[in-house]
Symmetry: none
Subunit: 216 residues, 4 copies
C-alpha cells in the first residue's frame, strides 16, 4: 500500500507551469529529470526521494515544495509523456498514400520506437499501477484509447471485407496490441536480441495474417 498518497503539500501535482517563476520552473524540471533518471535506474520501489533530490542538486525539502510523494512526481512525469505516447507524430505521415500493410508497419514501428525510448518508464508505470489507483486509472485510460483505435480499425476492415469476419474485434484488438506490447517489453526490458526492422516486419505480418487481412 502506498503510504503517502494522502499527503497534501502545497503543490501536489505541480502547479501549472505557467504559474511558476522561472527559477521554480527550472527546479521543477530538474526534479522531473532527476526522477526519470532515478526511476529508470532503480525502479519505483527502490527509488528514494533523497536520491531524486540529490540528483536534481537540491535539498530534499525542496522536493516537497513541488511534489507530495514519489507517486505524485511519477504521475507528473508520465503526464509529460502522455500525448507523445498516445499520438506518436511521425512527420508528414498523413501526406503519403500507403496501403493497409504499410500503414500497419508504420504503426508498429512507431509503437516499437516509443517503447524503445519509454519502455522502462512504462514498465515502472505498470508496476506502480499494481499498488496505486491513480496510476492504474491513468494507465488504463491510455491503453484503452490505444486498443479502441485498433478495434475500430479492425471493424472497419471487416466492414470493407478486408478482414476475417470470424474474428471478434474486441478480443483481437486486445490480443494483437498485447502481442506487440509484450514483445517490446521483453525485447527492451530484458535485452533479448532482435533486429528492429525485422521485428517491425514480423509483428506486422503476424498481425495482418491473424486478421486474414487482404492487401489493398
Amino acid at each position: 500500500m502506498p503510504k503517502n498518497t494522502e499527503a497534501t503539500p502545497k503543490n501536489q501535482q505541480g502547479a501549472p507551469e505557467s504559474a511558476l517563476t522561472p527559477r521554480a520552473r527550472r527546479t521543477r524540471k530538474a526534479l522531473l529529470e532527476a526522477a526519470q533518471k532515478v526511476f529508470e535506474r532503480d525502479g519505483f520501489h527502490n527509488a528514494r526521494i533523497t536520491d531524486i533530490a540529490d540528483t536534481a542538486g537540491v535539498a530534499h525539502g525542496t522536493f516537497y515544495t513541488y511534489f507530495g510523494s514519489k507517486e505524485t512526481i511519477f504521475l507528473a512525469l508520465v503526464d509529460g509523456f502522455l500525448s507523445e505516447l498516445l499520438f506518436p507524430s511521425s512527420p508528414n505521415s498523413e501526406k503519403i498514400k500507403i496501403d493497409s500493410f504499410e500503414r500497419l508497419k508504420k504503426s508498429n514501428r512507431d509503437y516499437l520506437e516509443i517503447y524503445r525510448d519509454y519502455g522502462r518508464i512504462i514498465a515502472i508505470w505498470e508496476e506502480l499501477a499494481k499498488y496505486n489507483k491513480e496510476a492504474a486509472e491513468k494507465l488504463k485510460q491510455g491503453e484503452d484509447a490505444f486498443i479502441l483505435r485498433a478495434r475500430r480499425k479492425i471493424e472497419q476492415l471487416q466492414r470493407d471485407g478486408l478482414a476475417d469476419p470470424d474474428i471478434d474485434a474486441r478480443y483481437a484488438a486486445r490480443a494483437l496490441t498485447g502481442m506487440v506490447h509484450k514483445f517490446a517489453d521483453t525485447w527492451f526490458s530484458k535485452k533479448e536480441d532482435f533486429e528492429f526492422e525485422q521485428a517491425v516486419e514480423q509483428l506486422s505480418l503476424l498481425w495482418a495474417n491473424a486478421l486474414r487481412m487482404k492487401r489493398t
Copy 2:
C-alpha cells in the same frame, strides 16, 4: 529496503523437505501457504514477513528457521508450482487423436486455466524479477522453455508445409506466446470481462491465422 544480498540466515533455501521432522514439515508448509495468501492479497512489496508468520500462526522468528527472506520464500513457493506451470497435465490428453487446431486450442485453454489459477503469483513473480536476479533467471528459464516449445512446433509446421514459411519462428514464438500471456494478464489481473471459451477460440484463431496454419 534491505536489498536481499548479504543476509545470511541459518537456512537460506529452506532445508530439503526430506530432511525435516514431520512437525517442521508442517510448519514449513504453513508458512508457504500463508505466503501465497499474503502475496496474492498484498503483492510482493507490501507483503510483510510479520503478516506471513501471523497468517501461518507461528512466531515471527520462526520464519527465519525456514526462509532467509521474502525473496527466498517466494522462490520456494514458485518452485512448488514450476512443473505444473510448465507441463500442465490434462488427463489422457495424449491418447486422443486431434488435429492441429484442436491441439492449439487445447494448449491455449491449458495456458489460460493456469493463468486463471496462478496469474496473480506470476504477475508478482514478474514484479520481483525486476529487482531480483534469481527470480529473473528462474522466470526466464520457465518462459524460455515454454517459448522454445512453441518455436519448435512452428518450425515443425513450416517444415511440414502447414505454416507460412515467411514467418520467422523465433519472432513468432515470442510474439504469439506473448499475445496469450498478455491477454491472460490483462484479463485476470485487471478484471476485464471476457468469456472463457470464446477467449480460447479467438486466441487460437488469431494464432493459427497468424501462422497461416492449414487445418489437418
Copy 3:
C-alpha cells in the same frame, strides 16, 4: 493537530498487563516511567519519543512495540493514575467521626496532596486536552465526577439547612472546586510560596464561608 493518532501499531493502548510476558511487562513499565519523567521535565510538546525510549534504556523501535504515539503513552500513563486521582484513599478515613468542616479540610488536604504529587502531569493533561479529543474526554470525565460529588454535597448541606440556600449548587461546585484546583496549580507549577497546612485551612475556610456553612 496531533499527527499520529490514527497509527495502528500492534498495541495501541498496551495490552492488558496480564497478557504480557514478564520481560514485556518490565519493558512496558520502564517506558511508562520514562515517559512520566520526560513529560514532567519537557512538557508534552517538547517531549520526544526518542528521549522516552532512551530514558527507558531501549531502542526507539521498542517504543512502538508498546505504544503507537506520544498521545497513546500519555493516556496509558494517566490511566494508571486515574483511580488514585479520583478516589484518594486515606487510611481508615471512614471510621473517624468528624464534623463537616473537618471533612472539608480532609478533602482539600487530599486534593492538595494529589496535586502536589501529580500536578505536573495534570497540567500536561490539560495542555494535551486542548489538542486531543480523547485526552479531553478522559479529563472531562474525571473532572465532572469530581465536581458532581461536590455539587451533591452542597445540595445535601442546603437540604439540611446547613448552607446558604441562595447559592446555586451547580455554579458553586464548579467555582469552588476550580478555586482549589487553580490555587494548587499556581502553587505547585509556578512555585509560589505557600505553607501546606495553612493552605488547607484557608481554602477550607473560604469554601465553608462561601457556602455559609454552619458548623455541626
Copy 4:
C-alpha cells in the same frame, strides 16, 4: 523543534510602531491580526508561521521583517491587549456611588467580559508560559498586579472591619481570583453552559461570603 533561543532576526521585537512607514505599519498590523486569528483557531503549537503570513496576505519571508518567531509575534499581540486586560475601563464607572457588593459584581462582570473576549488568547498565553520564560514573566506580572489589587482590597475591608479577620488576605486573594479565572476558563473554553448574569451574581456571592463581607 527550534527552541526560539539563538534566532537573531533583523527585528526581534518588531520596530516601535512609530518608526515605521505607513505601508510597514499596515503590514505589521495585518500580521498581528492574522496571528490572532490563527492562534485562536489552531492554538499555539499548531499555528504555523506560514499560515499567519498567508492569512495576512504577505509572503512568508515578510513575517521575519517584523517578528523573529511565533513567540515574538504572540508577545507583541498580547502587549496590545495588556492594558485592556489589566484595566478594563467601563465608562464613567468611577462616578457612581456603589456599595461594596455592587462594586464586586461590577469587577467580576468586567473580568468575565474580558475573558469572554480574550479567553482563548489568555489560555494560549498560559500554554506558552509553560515553555517560554518571557511569556511566563509577562503573564505573571499581569496576574500579580491583578491579584495584588484584590489583596489590597481584602486587607482594606479587614481593616475596616468589613471582612473576616481570620482570612489570610494573600491566600484569599490568590484563591478567589483563581476561582473566577478558572470558572471563566472552563465556561468559555469548554463551552460549559452557564448564564452570564447568574454567573456574575453567584461568583460575587461566593466571593463576598468567603470573606464574610458585610454589606455597606
